[in-house]
Amino acid sequence: MIRSGAQIVWESLVKEGVEVVFGYPGGAILPTYDAMLEYPVRHVLVRHEQGAAHMADGYARASGRVGVAIATSGPGATNLVTGIATAMLDSIPTVFITGNVPSKLLGSDAFQETDITGITLPITKHNALVTDVRELARTLKEAFAIARGGRPGPVLVDICKDTQQAKCELEWPDSVDLPGLQPIPFPDKKGLEKAAELIAKAERPLILAGHGVLKSGATRALVEFAEKTDTPIAMTLLGLGGVPASHPLNLGMMGMHGEAYVNSAIQRADLLLAFGMRFDDRVTGNLATYAKASKKVHVEIDPSEVGKNVAVDVAIVADLRATLEALTPALDPASHQAWRDEIGRGQAETRTRDILHQPDNGHLYAAHVIHDLWRATRGDAVVVTDVGQHQMWEAQYFAHEDPRSLITSGGLGTMGFALPAAIGAKFARPDAEVWVIAGDGGFQMTQAELATLQQERLDVKIAVVNNGYLGMVRQWQEFFYDKRYAATPMLSPDFVKLGEAYGIPGHRVTKRAEVLDTVNRVRATPGPALIDFRVEKEEAVYPMVPAGANLDAMIRRPVSEEVQA
């Protein structure tokens, strides 16, 4: 079977089960676009390649399958970079395909030539430049295997234009033979025994549940473990949804904007069970004072994460679900009533500070908006956030019951992520209710994708939490830079009119009483919609651990001021 390189690209995608790709054509990828018309893969034309990358990422996060984006050489390829780095930092299985100039022009600074494999070397799990059409099928098969395997991640395949045009006998490699692609190890017996010993001895154990819970499909195994050992669970941002928020052992989020009682529990625990999380600086605060009272067990798929930030007593390098399924049956049931009561007292104290429990002062707070979004949907929605204050409020006020119901850029913190990632998520889960929650700043970074949304007739609802500031940066300026608001007040377009310009119905909400009604009205109408929520301008996300401070040295919401207001 003689095929061109361009045809091999699509043959490969079809063989890998790819149904949709996100992309933008251009000179160096034109042969591949020409061949596309012969294959049953849906192509979504984006408005900027960064959007394509986030869509592939959002698709992968929502489904667990590999997301694919395509771009041309030069600026097309470099526009992908932010999206690739976003996928890298959160370990999202994605494949990026770029065209490059004809192989004989490589290195000549030809028109729209960039060394995209060089540029993306540190932000991909792997990448490859293909100049020989006979290598193409194998390289693409490897790309998918690498993207999915072990700790997942982005892989970029750069294909020269003449390679796309060249023809060869298409032969599928039977299997992938990559010496460096390590199989996922089974949990080792010794590690399991040592972990079981520590668990049996612990009086104040605490689970730190991360993204790995979602990635390994460990929700049920984790809940069984926690129930049998009566161990409370603290969640990382990317772990949210991995354990139902309503589960009585689920304490909520840890870290910089985690609940104060959660961070305090981490500091007072005598055993931390780190399950599929990597002790990021946003969850540890000052490492020198982090969780000094505890022994630590780390279950992690990537051995290079073990001992990177925090020294641990037992490390199990394996799939989390397999580990828990091996570990739980070996444990005796336990009760930690006193420990849970102690945490519960902090929980009660936190509730008194919660803005939802403050008297209505007529102001609209982002927390109200997000709480009402949750009330309207009962949490049965895929929420895709941008990055900033609204992201943290979402994590605090939207209770996630299911894995993959929150899609957010954690590691890289990429503003502009939400809208395109939500488009990708909607393709992955067409039957799910999908909401974008974005700030006015981040939304403007990729709002051009409103055209993509409309063009694809996707039913995605958008909540712009509009406070007229780059809110999180303003908050840091308020706390740490003496309220000198350098470059954070921001002018925005009329988002209602903007939506309408794209044919997307727009609504504006300025009062707390209007939130639920408007949300429900929008939900009852099929098709995309945008709501511009004009929220309190200078509200801060509480509590907060200042960067590098001790985890339990948190800035709390003042109690009295709100009550008296």
Binding site: T117, G118, L121, P122, K125, H126, L129, I146, L178, P179, G180, L181, Q182, D302, P303, S304, V306, G307, K308
Partner: protein
Amino acid sequence: MKHTLVARVQDQPGVLNRVASLFRRRAFNIDSLTVGQSEVPGFSRMTFVVDAARVPARLVEENLRKLIPVAEVHDVTHVPTVDRDLALIRVKCAPGERGEIAGLVDIFRGKVVDVAADSLIVELAGDAAKLDGLLELLKPRGILEMVRTGKVAMVRGAAAGNGNGNGN
């Protein structure tokens, strides 16, 4: 402390770039890096000497393993190895001093491989301590130019062939 890591890597374009990029990005401190052919066609062998003061050598090892073209990595610091470093040293030498320098070099089992009117080139292979020893002695005479290959290492005797980086 210094650790010696030995890796077997696929011999393909860009592999050295990947390794170098990893060391740069993670700020791993590298003393020397050598690359050359191995006994297996299609695979090169790399020897790294890394300073593990800031980052544990195990993390360097695990990060190297994550690179797709890297087939194996072993830390051979604590197993008996044969270590070799090769130096070429051009040292100032008046015609009357040649015999004396040749004598010194001979004690270290080195060789004089080139002689010019006022200098000569010494070749010396050995472990780092031996090279440093001769360099100390030659320094007062004036070292005009020097190149060292960096360390290569191979596990000795019975420990070899058990996955210590000496083959499959």
